[in-house]
Symmetry: C2
Subunit: 209 residues, 2 copies
DNA sequence: AGGTAAATTGACAGCAGGGTCAAGTTCGAT
DNA sequence: ATCGAACTTGACCCTGCTGTCAATTTACCT
């Protein structure tokens, strides 16, 4: 790769990082090119697709943050506190960082690295849920799929209210958590459980909404 | 109004009703015209804006359904059961009927009749919340704004998962409700409360998401 | 039946975004 | 310093939507 191409790629990565954070991962590619001071043709040359650019720019950061919260959760003495903090912190990350929201929501199924991060973080979530279940603090009818959808709902709400009421999601999460304690379980759940396939499918289509 | 215009308006209303239900209120106006068998110019002639068409086609139905569930809630003997059923049924309506979702979410702020229905149904919601509070069954820190955002989150989730996991929202609602009982309240809520203004603003921007 | 106001039509313009590529420019190996 | 390959550029096309309007057709009143 020639030195000028290097430089341009760097400028594009920097511009993308800014704009992804400011305006979300769906920001028009032309704007990224504009902010980087190069033609959009160059962006297509160097990265080809939005997904490739995303992978190059935000995958690592998202992975780091997600690992960190999962780590904290598992190392917490109290299984409930670990779980609850995990949910809260992850929701906060989603509200704060569009890349994390994209990972957790499985948007951009064609972004390879992002999806790898998604898989990795779902595995961590499973462990955290299992630990809370085994400690008897998390209601037993709560499933991993439920957690995925809870995160999805939070991401959607946080995004939708980001401008006008940026903390609206916090109270919702509190209510949810209080409803997830073993002792809180009073209402029997609808029996219909989504299959693994449905969860994947649903996440995939989250992006379009 | 001439007889042919009458007929065309009728055809357009019918086509719009179908397509709004099938594909949501954001369905392209040209498609509505196509299904009605008239030119899209005619649609603009007769209705002018999407909002006017929505008002003409779905406002009454949505109002009726919303009134009905509110009525049922208030006439339930048990304040908790009334409240819980209300939340569940309203969420179901949102998942089922794009018009109700639009009303509750305050999308289409320019659709006058829809917004009137929105105001009316928020008033009903306030009464239902008050009743549950007064009976001591609903946790006292739960506010009307929280209910609005809970519905918003549900609508977003239901829409996003409509194809792949159409019942995903049900379990989430169950968890939420179990977290809303007075006895379930264990975690103190974040103190930040959105103002009335913020709630309106946030709803307004829901549409864009 | 005829005239005119009302209504319909579809071509057209505009906007926003994705994506391509021939022509021109720049790098850097020799 | 030169030359070919690598790279950049921006005009261009496409798609999908909204919205407008001059020309035409149609209803209906007399």
């Amino acid at each position: 790769m020639r030195a000028d191409a290097q430089r341009n790629a760097e400028k594009l990565r920097a511009a993308a990082a800014e704009l992804f954070q400011e305006r979300g991962l769906q920001v028009p590619l032309k704007e990224i090119a504009r902010r980087a001071g190069v033609s959009h043709g160059t962006l297509y040359n160097l990265f080809g697709t939005r997904e490739a650019l995303i992978d190059a720019v935000v995958a690592d950061g998202a992975a780091r943050r997600l690992d960190e919260v999962a780590q904290q959760a598992l190392s917490h003495d109290d299984a409930w506190e670990g779980f609850a903090h995990y949910v809260e912190r992850l929701c906060e990350l989603q509200a704060t960082d569009p890349a994390v929201a994209a990972v957790v929501g499985g948007r951009y199924p064609d972004a390879e690295r992002l999806m790898a991060v998604c898989a990795r973080s779902m595995e961590a979530a499973r462990r955290i849920v299992r630990r809370a279940h085994e400690a008897g603090v998390l209601r037993p009818d709560f499933t991993n799929a439920d957690l995925v959808f809870a995160f999805a709902a939070n991401a959607l709400l946080a995004r939708a209210t980001a401008d006008a009421a940026p903390d609206a999601w916090r109270r919702q999460v509190t209510y949810l958590l209080d409803g997830l304690r073993t002792e809180a379980a009073r209402t029997p759940l609808p029996a219909i459980q989504p299959t693994e396939r449905q969860v994947r499918e649903a996440l995939r289509s989250l992006g379009e909404a």
